[in-house]
Amino acid sequence: MKQVACTVVENRELTKGNFLLTLRVPRQFSKPEPGQFVHLRLSTDGEPLLRRPYSLEGYFERRGIRAIRIYYSVVGRGSRILSGHPKGRELDLIGPLGVGFKPARRKTAILVAGGRGVAPLLFLSRRLTEKKRPHVFLFGARSKNELYGVREVKGGRLHLASDDGSVGYHGSVLDLLEREWSESGHTPATAEIFTCGPHGLLHAIADFARERGIRCEASLEGPMACAVGACRGCPIPLRPEHDQGRYPAMCVEGPVYDATVVDWERLP
C-alpha cells in the first residue's frame, strides 16, 4: 500500500450517471488483487473532507505503463466532483487496499453481480480467464443500458437478468443463481460464490449460500475514514453465532468478506 500520484487517462460517462475512470499509476503502485480498492482524494480544497474508496474494475500493464480502472456512479458530493476531473488531471491515491477475493483452485467460481457491483467481478473474471479457470458470470441490472462490461466476459459462461426484462431473464439475478445451482449440478464441494452489489441482494445471496453450506465471498461497502485500519470507523457486524467480541475492519479485513457470517441487518 502506497500514497501515489496518478493521472486521469479517461473519465467517460458510459450510461446516464455511470462513469468508467482510467487512471495511470506509477510503478510504486503494487499489482492489485480483484476485490481490492483504492482510496481517492477527490479534491484538495477540503470539500469533500474525506477520501472516497473505490473498488478496482481492472488493472492493466502494457509496455511498462500501468493503469487501473474504476467504474462509478454519481450519487453525491464526491462522485459528482470525481465525474468532473478531465483527462490529464492528477489525483492523489492510496492503495491497493484491503483483501480481495480468494477463489479456490479446484472449484467452479460463480460470480453474481448486481448493478455497478459488477466492477470487482469483471476484474475477477479476467483474472480467472487468465488462469484458464472455468467460471459462471451472473449479472443482474435494472435495465439493458445498465449492463456494463458483459462483452468483457470471456472465459466464463454468462447469464443476464434485468428488472425490466429489457435484456436476458426478466427478474432478479438471485433467480439466475438458484436456477444455475439447481440445473448445473453444483455442490458446495465443487462450486463457490463471489458477489458484489446492493446490500439487499448480497443479504439474499448470503442466506442462499448459508442454507446450503456454500462458500460465499461478498465485496462490502460502507463509510470509511482512514481506509488503512487505524480509525476503526468501518466495523463489519457479524451474526451473533460468529461474534468474536470485536468488529472486523472493512478496510483491512475486508472489503471482501465471508458473506455467510455477516449480520446484514446491522450493516449500514
Partner: protein, 335 residues
C-alpha cells in the same frame, strides 16, 4: 531578515522535549504502524496513541462515521485491545517508533485510571500519558470526568503519584467553562492539558428518517470546529500556566500557527490527516518557514505572539454600558 540557520522548533511538555510542536492526535493513526508507509514519523514531534482502556473494547455498532459539511461525526467508542492487548500487541510497535510516544488512556472509574497509568508507566515505551477524560462515545462515564471539575480533580489527584511521566489531561469542549476544568487539572499536578476532543453532534437521514450513526450521537471533528477549538484554546491559555496542546480542525500549516499564536505550546493533527497523511510534515515545514519569515530563530517567538490591538478585545459589561450610554445621548438609532 531571514536567518539561514534552521529555526529551533523544540518545545517542552513537562519533562518531555519534543523535536517540534506537531503531534498526531489520538484515534487518528492507531499506534503508528497503520500509517508507517504514509507518514515520516522522523519529521514530526510525536504521536498520541489510540486510547487504551483497561479491558478490550469492541467499540460501538455501525455506522460509526459520517461526513458532514466540513467535518465528520464519529462514534467509534474507543475500540481497543485493552491493557493486556496493549502489552502484547502495541508495546513492541511503540518501542520502534522514531518520535515521541504519548499513550492515551481512559478509565471508567478512578480505579481503572490508576491501573492504566501504572500499566503504561511500567510498559516503558511511553514518553508521556494523555489522560482522556473527554470521550463522548463511551457512555456517561466518558465525559463525566471532564465536564465536572471535581471529578477531574479526583482522577488527576489519584494518578499523579503513580508516574513520573508527563501527564496531559485531554479535555472536552462540551462544557460551559473549559478553563475551570483546566485549572482543576493544573492544580492537581497535570503537566499539560490538551484540547479539544470532539463536540457532541448528530446527523439524520431525512430520506429514511433514521439517525445516521449507530449511537445517534457522535463527536464532530474537522475544519468545521476550528473557530470553536481556537476559542477554547485561547480561553484555557489565559487561565493556566501549564502548557496547552491545541487541536481541532487543523487542515493546513496556517491553522496550526493560529493555535500556536494564541499560546498553545504544541498542536495535534486529526481528521484532516485522513485525506492528507502528509499534513503533519507540511505543518512542520510551514512553521519553520514562518519562524524564518519573522526573522526569528526559535518557535518560542510564535507561541502566544498574537497581539490584541488597543481598542480591541473581548467586551466587558462596563464597555457595553459605555457604548450604550454614548448611544443613548443620540437618538439616531438603527436596527
Amino acid at each position: 531578515m531571514t536567518p539561514a540557520t534552521k529555526p529551533d522548533l523544540r518545545v517542552s511538555i513537562g519533562s518531555l522535549e519534543l523535536r517540534n510542536p506537531i503531534l498526531v492526535a489520538s484515534g487518528i493513526i492507531g499506534f503508528g504502524k497503520e500509517y508507517e508507509h504514509l507518514v515520516n514519523l522522523e519529521r514530526i514531534g510525536g504521536i498520541v496513541t489510540k486510547t487504551v482502556t483497561l479491558r478490550p473494547r469492541a467499540g460501538n455498532p455501525p455506522p460509526r462515521v459520517v461526513e458532514t459539511v466540513a467535518g465528520m461525526l464519529n462514534s467509534i467508542g474507543i475500540e481497543n485491545p485493552g491493557l493486556p492487548g496493549y502489552f502484547e500487541q502495541k508495546v513492541p510497535i511503540l518501542r520502534e517508533l522514531p518520535c515521541a510516544r504519548i499513550v492515551s488512556v481512559e478509565g471508567e472509574d478512578v480505579g481503572e485510571f490508576e491501573e492504566l497509568v501504572r500499566g503504561v508507566d511500567r510498559s516503558g515505551v511511553a514518553d508521556a500519558i494523555e489522560v482522556n477524560i473527554s470521550c463522548p462515545n463511551v457512555g456517561p462515564h466518558g465525559m463525566r470526568y471532564s465536564t465536572d471539575a471535581g471529578m477531574a480533580r479526583e482522577v488527576m489527584t489519584a494518578i499523579r503519584p503513580l508516574t513520573k511521566l508527563p501527564l496531559i489531561a485531554k479535555l472536552t469542549p462540551n462544557v460551559t467553562r473549559i478553563a475551570e476544568i483546566a485549572e482543576a487539572c493544573a492544580g492537581c499536578g497535570a503537566d499539560a492539558v490538551s484540547l479539544v476532543n470532539t463536540f457532541v453532534g448528530m446527523a439524520v437521514d431525512s430520506r429514511n428518517r433514521k439517525p445516521i450513526l449507530g449511537t445517534v450521537l457522535g463527536g464532530l471533528s474537522g475544519p468545521a470546529i476550528k473557530p470553536l477549538a481556537l476559542a477554547k484554546a485561547w480561553e484555557t491559555v489565559q487561565a493556566v500556566d501549564i502548557p496547552v496542546v491545541g487541536m481541532g480542525g487543523i487542515a493546513k500549516a496556517a491553522d496550526a500557527l493560529e493555535f500556536l499564536l494564541v499560546g498553545c505550546t504544541a498542536v495535534e493533527i486529526g481528521t484532516a490527516m485522513f485525506a492528507d497523511p502528509g499534513l503533519p510534515e507540511a505543518c512542520v515545514t510551514g512553521i519553520s518557514d514562518y519562524v524564518r519569515a519573522m526573522g526569528e530563530h526559535s518557535v518560542d517567538a510564535v507561541i502566544g505572539a498574537m497581539e490584541v490591538p488597543a481598542g480591541r478585545g473581548p467586551i466587558r459589561a462596563g464597555k457595553a454600558r459605555r457604548d450604550a450610554a454614548r448611544a443613548a445621548r443620540n437618538k439616531g438609532g438603527t436596527t
